[in-house]
Amino acid sequence: MITDANTVPRNACLYAEVCVIGSGAAGIALALTLSDKGKSVLLLEAGYDREDSRTQALYKGEVSNEKLHSPPDKYRQRRFGGSTPIWGGRCVPFDPIDFDTRSYVPFSGWPISYKDVSPFYPAANVWAEAGRCQYDADEVFGLASVPMIRGFVSPVVYTNSLERFSCPTNFSKRYRNRLQRAVNVRVMLGANCTAIRLQPNGQQVQGIDVATLSGNRFSVNAKMFALAVGGLETPRLLLASRDVSAAGIGNEYDVVGRYYLCHIAGSVGLLTIKGSTNVVRHGYEVAPDGVYCRRRLSLAPSEQRRLGLANMVARLHFSGIADPSHRNGVLSGLYLAKNLISYEYGKRLDDGGTATFATYLRHLRNVLTDPVDTSAFLLHWLTKHTYAERKFPSVILRNKTNRFALEINGEQIPQATSRVALIDATDELGVRRLRVDWRYSPLDIDSVRRTLDVFASEFERCNIGSFQYNRDALGEDLMRYGAFGGHHIGTARMGNDVRTSVVDANCKVHSVDNLFVAGSAVFPTSSQANPTLTIIALSLRLADHMARSLSDVVVSPTVAGLGQ
């Protein structure tokens, strides 16, 4: 059943076995899995089906440096489906090494291992509509398939690791019918959680306060609560709920909001590959299950350990778009259209420089003098992306020169000073807003630099080409667009030590028996991988744990006495 929070009687107290707050990929997967296990679920969603500016404005806040991090109301959506209506769909599981404690990555190490999460990846793939849980190109396309770079065989640099792409699936559209039909799930739209109330001993959630923008207010009581509101809203709600714990829930050791991670990302250098253009496979391939896949360069875990490097991958990419000297009609067309593209996707089409009228004219000339490629691209984009159910994931240019930049997606090293915190300003519902102070460290850049050096050395050793980049400008290149938007990680990190973590191995807030966190806030480290697939996998694991625990729960009189 899907209802509107404005229809709830004012000051009523609703009850469910589990209250899930947030209906993104984590919340919907969690709620429906719990429902399948026979648990009654109340799923609260602040927004509605479409983006609404007044609801979205509840996300507004400050950033310490807008060049380094987008405003907090960008790259996330306060609506049914969470941010899945705008995500790019890239699905990659974490690597086993990501879960390990690595002496050279401070504050690394999960309290769980890859083996604890891997059983949930196949189902996570299904939820994300990313096909089979197969991420090895040899397994998917066979040993006889054309490799990423013919002739490049290295024991330390791999080219057969794949990323898969979701449709990308908008979870609210895709799972609406299931939510509507599930007899034990009630979805409530327009329901903003404004505070989490603890019992006086601080060890149990007593209930949560809910408000609508139309002025309705009510509360929810449940045996268990799960926050599935994303990596920024999770610390915001925990920190803003101070009726019992003065520092905020789970924040006894000032960890909530700290160790905030994104990914280190950027387009770097020039890789020139010898030989004809057909020795390189730089774009997307369609797997037998119909899913778009792309190969990446990655460093062997043993080499990461030996050299003390954080995890990182690189894709073959086109060079900078803003400079019209590339003479490519497609790139220039994209540049000219950047203002028509959403903030989230347009941002990385701009190099931050000031474009003159002459620059625009040169781009226009590129479009006009490259009509065949530009038209072919437009036709392909319209048929394979705009009007396709499973969308071609991103712009890929025809390889004419065997020259590529490397598009980096690197793990960021956790540090306590990178954080989100509350400011005094409040939103329309009276909840304090966030200030984002995302920081990276020279170690992050150095790790990318040394990884690139290994890549370059292996390219040379195998005599397949050369890779050059400006070592001194690497930091600038990687930070041109700041933190990789939308990957909000680590703000309620998982761990065994209460002094450096917020939740335990089961995603339960250390100090509160019935409060759980679903989402990337719990990741202690960020991996090279985009977070969504692991968010879903961990949510499925959490559903298992909650369902099992609920079967053992002894209902306290306070909870049992409340009805709907």
Binding site: V126, C167, R181, P288, D289, G290, E389
Partner: protein, 327 residues
């Protein structure tokens, strides 16, 4: 035990007769309206279930009758009525009646045998509901009835749930359907249905006179998963993503004329293997229907050890590949 199998020329009836022939306790005879079996052979007596006199005559001497009759409304509903009357007139004490999950109509969620009928779902559901009501009449008059409600019966040789699905997949008309393929497939292997029938024949009599069992493999997946698995198994790749719009066009616009063409060609005895299979709107609706049969009662009472989905899938894929090789 002497057993008469009605509807012996169909997919299930033929398979059942093979299974019965392999036992040391059953003496089975098949009967069907048509002259030939689905595989072109003839091994059964010709009998129209709606002909009371002929049916009563045929039933004489049989202890048990299995009703696998398919076809039109009249054959299913009135055929059941006639069968009950004929059985009451003879010493045949037990009817094993093959019903269907369609009796639950538009019901969604987890569905046990206690769920209500929904005969408004279409002529087939109405016919099957009516047939079941006639069966309870037999029980009220002292007979024993075991009603089996299978989901979608598949396995090697299943045209409905393997053959045409495979052709749709190969033609790119079927694939990953998103929400339109989110329903539970409720697949059950034809051999499990046969095992259930054999067990139903030998169940001790009950006071109520009627026992009802859902039949579905507990690990039966959602339709999307089945389509993907089958497509990969038979090499109908890359699997296509089919939009809701495309599915509607195929089933609502192309479906009816294709069906009409098929019937016309049948009427004139013209081979139509070249004609694309019509995709009935009712089937497209089923793929989205979130109904999940619970078959725990069959597991417990009929002691069924269900064939695993992977094994059934392998068998279906082998059969489809064989069909492809033989043209």
């Amino acid at each position: 035990m002497k057993i008469l199998v009605l509807g012996a020329s169909g997919y299930l009836g033929m398979r059942l007769l093979d299974k019965l022939a392999a036992t040391d306790w059953a003496q089975a005879t098949g009967a069907a309206r048509g002259r030939r079996n689905a595989d072109g052979t003839t091994s059964h007596m010709r009998l129209d279930i709606r002909n009371l006199k002929a049916l009563t005559h045929a039933l004489n001497g049989y202890e048990c009758v299995v009703n696998c009759v398919a076809g039109d409304f009249d054959s299913i509903a009135n055929g059941a009525k006639t069968l009950v009357r004929a059985a009451l007139d003879t010493k045949c004490r037990r009817i094993v009646h093959l019903s269907t999950m369609s009796v639950y109509g538009r019901t969604e969620g987890r569905v046990s045998e206690a769920a209500l009928f929904d005969p408004q779902f279409g002529w087939y559901a109405r016919a099957k509901c009516e047939a079941e009501l006639h069966m309870t009449e037999f029980a009220r008059n002292g007979g024993e009835v075991v009603i089996l409600r299978p989901g979608c019966v598949f396995g090697s040789g299943s045209e409905l749930w393997v053959g045409r699905i495979g052709r749709w997949l190969r033609a790119g008309r079927l694939g990953e359907l998103g929400a339109a393929g989110d329903g539970w497939s409720n697949l059950v292997n034809v051999d499990d249905v046969c095992k259930a029938i054999l067990a139903a024949m030998r169940l001790p009599g009950t006071q109520s006179g009627t026992l009802v069992f859902n039949l579905v493999a507990p690990d039966s997946p959602r339709w999307n998963d089945y389509f993907l698995d089958l497509a990969l198994a038979i090499g109908a790749t890359p699997v296509r993503r089919i939009s809701a719009r495309q599915l509607k066009i195929d089933s609502l616009l192309a479906g009816p004329p294709l069906k009409v063409a098929e019937k016309l060609l049948d009427k004139f005895g013209i081979q139509h293997r070249w004609l694309p299979d019509a995709l009935p709107p009712s089937v497209a609706r089923l793929w989205a229907q979130d109904i999940r049969l619970i078959s725990q009662a069959a597991t417990d009472v009929l002691a069924l050890n269900w064939i695993r989905y992977e094994a059934s899938l392998g068998e279906c894929a082998d059969w489809l590949r064989g069909c492809m090789v033989s043209g």
